[in-house]
Structure formats: structure tokens, C-alpha cells
């Protein structure tokens, strides 16, 4: 049974470029969330999508956007990259949107380096 898969695993971009990161949730999971993890810190919430709609947004600029497709996979887009966007980007999937005792499953992440 496949877990959460993210692609690519590593990426190097230059300042000002844009990037698209992809995530496939566990089969049957309808909710996908994105997190940014800067080195030495815990993951920070960026977005949650459920049933193809944005359901939550963290404190990130409008350069960050995302979408969820009918098959529940998701893309995270970041425009006008800054050096500070260098981080591990994590995708988490859950079956439902609300239940607090639902385990979130994380992918391996995409390591983005902006130079």
C-alpha cells in the first residue's frame, strides 16, 4: 500500500523563479495539507485542501498557492522565489477534514534550495 508520495525529492531553483511541487495522498484520503520546514525548526502549516477546496491557510504570502485535483492529488506553487523559501516542503494526507484524532500521514518531502 503506497504512502504519501511527493515529487521531486530535491530541487534547486534560482531567485525569482517559480516552482511546482506535487503530492499524491494515500488512496482514499481526501484531505491534503502542505507544510514548510526550515532547517532546525518544526513544520509550519501552509495550506489544507479538502474535496478540492482550500479549507485553511497559514501565515504565508500570496506567492504561495496550491490546488487539489479530482483524484485528490495536490500541487503547491511558489512564485518569485526568495532565498528564504529554501526548506523541506512536506505534504500530509488525512482521510477526513475535522476529526481531531485522525492520524496525519506525511510524505518524505521535497527539499527546495533557492540560490
Amino acid at each position: 500500500d503506497a504512502g504519501v508520495t511527493q515529487s521531486p525529492t530535491h530541487l534547486i531553483k534560482t531567485r525569482g523563479q517559480h516552482v511546482t511541487l506535487r503530492c499524491s495522498p494515500i488512496s482514499g484520503h481526501k484531505s491534503v495539507s502542505w507544510y514548510q520546514q526550515v532547517l532546525g525548526q518544526g513544520p509550519q502549516f501552509i495550506f489544507q485542501y479538502y474535496e478540492k477546496e482550500e479549507r485553511g491557510r497559514g501565515n504565508f504570502p500570496d506567492r504561495f498557492s496550491a490546488r487539489q485535483f479530482p483524484n485528490y492529488s495536490s500541487e503547491l506553487n511558489v512564485n518569485a522565489l526568495l532565498l528564504g523559501d529554501s526548506a523541506l516542503y512536506l505534504c500530509a494526507s488525512t482521510f477526513s477534514r475535522f476529526e481531531p484524532n485522525t492520524e496525519a500521514f506525511f510524505g518524505q518531502g521535497t527539499r527546495l534550495t533557492v540560490v
Binding site: V4, S31, S33, Y35, G40, Q41, G42, P43, Q44, F45, Q48, R55, G56, R57, G58, L88, L90, C91, A92, T94, R97, F98, P100, N101, T102, E103, A104, F105, F106, G107, Q108, G109, R111
Partner: protein, 114 residues
């Protein structure tokens, strides 16, 4: 969301029991307590979750006192492969109730020594 406080780092030796305590003085009535483990360059992995008293699974135990203002993750007989960052999370719904957000602190770096 309830803020959590946990030690920045801990060292232990193989075979010992490790207890990591997390403080969450402002925990709300409906909040659960969840612990995640993260290895370098990997996503966090769910360890255990509880609401009150004691919860045990195949990898850990979680002790929660009656006032629920703290919790202790207990790892029995740790091995070198348990070296990781451990996060304590409390409260899984943001205040608006429209999203399910996990709020991570800085975690506890556990280093298991041979």
C-alpha cells in the same frame, strides 16, 4: 491553539527508558495530545495520541495527568535508531474551525548513545 513547551534536547543510552515531558498549560477541553517523530530529511511520523490517563501502543506510552496540563512520552529500551526529533502537539483544529492544522513547536532532539 495551546502552546507546548518541551526540552530542546535529551541524551540517553541504548537500552534505557526515555521520558520526554511536554507542558501545555492552556490545553482546551476538546484538545487531544499527539506525538510525532521525525528523522532528518523525512516527514514526521505519528507515534501516539491520547486524551487522558495512559495510552500504550507497540512503540511508546503516553502518560497524561488528570489536569492534562502536561504529558510524558515514554520510549522503552531505546536504540540508536530512536535518535530523532520528537514533537508534542496539542489541539488539532484552528480557532475558525474551518481547517485541520497541525501546529509544531521546535521539538526535542533525542540522541541515543551506544
Amino acid at each position: 491553539l495551546a502552546k507546548t513547551t518541551q526540552p530542546i534536547s535529551m541524551d540517553s543510552y541504548e537500552g534505557q527508558e526515555v521520558n520526554i515531558t511536554c507542558s501545555h498549560n492552556n490545553i482546551a477541553t476538546n484538545d487531544y495530545i499527539t506525538w510525532y517523530q521525525q528523522f532528518p530529511s523525512q516527514g514526521p511520523r505519528f507515534i501516539i495520541q491520547g486524551y487522558k490517563t495512559k495510552v500504550t501502543n507497540e512503540v511508546a506510552s503516553l502518560f497524561i495527568p488528570a489536569d492534562r496540563k502536561s504529558s510524558t512520552l515514554s520510549l522503552p529500551r531505546v536504540s540508536l535508531s530512536d535518535t530523532a526529533v520528537y514533537y508534542c502537539l496539542v489541539g488539532l483544529l484552528i480557532s475558525s474551525g474551518s481547517a485541520r492544522q497541525l501546529t509544531f513547536g521546535s521539538g526535542t532532539q533525542l540522541t541515543v548513545l551506544p
